[in-house]
């Protein structure tokens, strides 16, 4: 049996345990492709955009932008080709939901792609899969081939008169290619260095043409919205953040894994009830709620609904829904070392604040962990991270600065103790 099945399923992950769900026949036998048939044959692109806008679906790739609104930016009367890009470059540490959808529900993602392409009048979709997910890319390519043979894709998709094809492109190991314009550069055969905006991809995207970039999970919600209507979707989750999402729980919990739950489910419910809490009778010390780039919360602040409107009040965000749990043996300076190393390693280097700032953050954290830090280092950490925010071409520098600010905000005493004792006071913490 597939070893990575979700512990809690919902409409997105129903059937993912069944092996034939990855085939066209198996997907159709469970009602698949009916929503796309309805959209392409009975609806106009505007109708589809209106439905998705009315559903309130927010992008699930980290930024949470309203999907229908993004689609509405695309030209209705383009003077040449438009494109859809499916961002399958899942690389945010703590996130592993898109991999499940690609490997176990490829036709659902493809159905969302075809509907999204129809709504945005895209003639081609490029699915950019991170290079490390070679297995997922193989499964997904087989599904594309089945759909070409069956006439679901091609000049006359589903017999509707709408022409569409899907190309799978493999990345090659660069976190920054998850940033949408870094992805576009990579897709065009260049280093994945993000572009200045404006122009936005809806104006000038892939190959100079209007382009929509949507995350894998975002597109997987779309067939369900078309099939069941926006009201149904709004009946799940919170008023501002409707629908379910795939929370990934990792770190110090008894049952790490994926959980499909409505947005707005409380973080403590996910950590303690669903994931079984911290094993070995230990206590929670910190939880990162949305992937490595989001500020961590201390144990006392887990009574928060997992939706952007409520997490924002605690100074953090939903991100990609990757929940990383740390127990009370954990040294937060070591956590900061691992985090800052990652961002230092992955900075594309084109903006000074990011290229230099990520290096400084890492050097300072390492010095403090070694026991060689000084009181003033904490202020330098704060100042360097503040000077990176909002100063660069893309949000990577912010994503590198926020976690450090979170660690300093809630776990300052860990940093101070290292300086005071001139060594790490957490001998039982995970090894660096």
């Amino acid at each position: 049996m597939y070893p990575r099945l979700p512990h809690v399923t919902g409409y997105l992950t129903e059937h993912v345990a069944e092996d034939d769900f990855v085939t066209l026949e198996g997907y159709r036998a469970r009602g698949g492709w009916l929503a796309a048939e309805r959209a392409l044959r009975e609806m106009s692109p505007e109708d589809v955009v209106d439905q998705v806008t009315a559903s309130g679906l927010q992008g699930r790739g980290g930024a949470g932008f309203p999907t229908g609104q993004k689609w509405s930016f695309m030209p209705s009367d383009p003077d040449g080709p438009s494109y859809l890009v499916c961002n399958a470059d899942e690389s945010e540490p703590g996130s592993f939901k898109d991999r499940l959808l690609l490997e176990r529900a490829p036709h659902k993602v493809l159905e969302g792609i075809l509907i999204g392409a129809f709504a945005t009048r895209a003639e081609k979709t490029f699915v950019y899969v991170r290079g490390e997910y070679s297995r997922a890319a193989d499964v997904f390519e087989s599904a594309v081939e089945e759909c070409r043979t069956a006439g679901i894709l091609g000049r006359n998709a589903l017999g509707s008169g709408f022409g569409h094809d899907v190309v799978v492109t493999r990345g090659a190991g660069a976190y920054i290619c998850g940033e949408e314009t870094g992805l576009l550069e990579s897709l065009e055969g260049r280093k994945g260095m993000p572009r200045k905006k404006p122009p936005y991809p809806a104006q000038v995207g892939a190959f100079g043409r209007p382009t929509t970039v949507n995350n894998v999970e975002t597109l997987a919600h779309v067939p369900h919205i078309v099939a069941n209507g926006p009201e149904w979707f709004r009946g799940l989750g919170t008023e501002e953040s409707p629908g379910t999402t795939l929370f990934g729980v990792s770190g110090h919990v008894s049952r790490p894994g994926l959980y499909e739950l409505p947005l707005g489910t409380r973080l403590d419910e996910i950590v303690f009830e669903h994931a079984g809490g911290v094993p070995g009778g230990r206590k929670v010390k910190a939880v990162i709620p949305g992937g490595l780039s989001m500020p961590a919360l201390p144990a006392g602040q887990l009574d928060v609904p997992m939706a952007n409107e409520s997490l924002r009040e605690r100074g953090t965000f939903l991100g990609t829904g990757g929940i990383i749990v740390m127990d009370d043996t954990t040294c937060m300076v070591r956590v900061a070392c691992v985090t800052t190393w990652f961002f230092r390693d992955e900075s594309c280097g084109q903006c000074t604040q990011c290229r230099e700032g990520t290096g400084w953050l890492h050097k300072l954290c390492e010095r403090i962990e070694r026991g060689a830090g000084e009181d003033a280092d904490l202020d330098v950490l704060r100042d360097v991270s503040a000077s990176m925010e909002g100063q660069t071409i893309c949000a990577f520098a912010d994503a590198a600065a926020w976690p450090v600010q979170g660690f300093l905000r809630h776990f300052r005493e860990d940093f101070e103790a290292h300086v005071r004792l001139a060594k790490c006071p957490f001998p039982a913490s995970f090894e660096l």
Binding site: R4, S91, S186
Partner: protein, 155 residues
């Protein structure tokens, strides 16, 4: 010519899938690496000629993207994920243990040319940590003994 003819055909097919030929440069690098085990300088030169770009533009891609390599390394590439979710569950201790077991440091190749050991950033297997990747395949929920057995079984 170091790029074999079959690979050349696959590269031409890739070029046909994109609105601009240059977009097939990354796919072409994957194709070459699959055939040759790496992308040697001579292959990079040939790719530059095929795509009508300066050789340095191909070399830039080779240094920017982690998955490409210019030297073949060991027969198997073993990479331990050491990002935070894996580290919390002992990935770095696992990597140290494998370094000791193989007698190499991360980034090095065993003397018999069997294994290049390395570490890698998040591979999207956070709930099944610690884990490592052997060539294209994931091996998850490992302890040091499991991992040693896996490596000992490699040809």
């Amino acid at each position: 010519m170091v790029i074999p003819e079959a690979a050349r055909d696959a590269i031409d097919a890739a070029i046909g899938r994109y609105p601009e030929p240059r977009a097939a440069l990354l796919p072409a690098l994957h194709i070459v690496q699959r055939e040759l085990g790496c992308v040697p300088l001579e292959a990079a030169r040939e790719l530059a000629a095929i795509f009508a770009v300066a050789p340095v533009e191909v070399l830039e891609l080779l240094s920017f993207y982690n998955l490409f390599r210019v030297e073949p390394g060991g027969r198997h590439r073993v990479n331990v994920c050491t990002n935070l979710p894996c580290s919390l569950r002992g990935a770095r201790a696992l990597l140290r243990g494998l370094e000791a077991h193989l007698g190499v440091a991360a980034g090095e190749t065993t003397r018999d040319g069997r294994i290049t050991l390395g570490h890698e950033e998040c591979l999207g297997a956070c709930a099944w940590a610690p884990m490592l990747r052997i060539d294209g395949d994931y091996h998850e929920n490992l302890d040091l003994e499991d991992a040693k057995r896996l490596l000992d079984g490699l040809e």
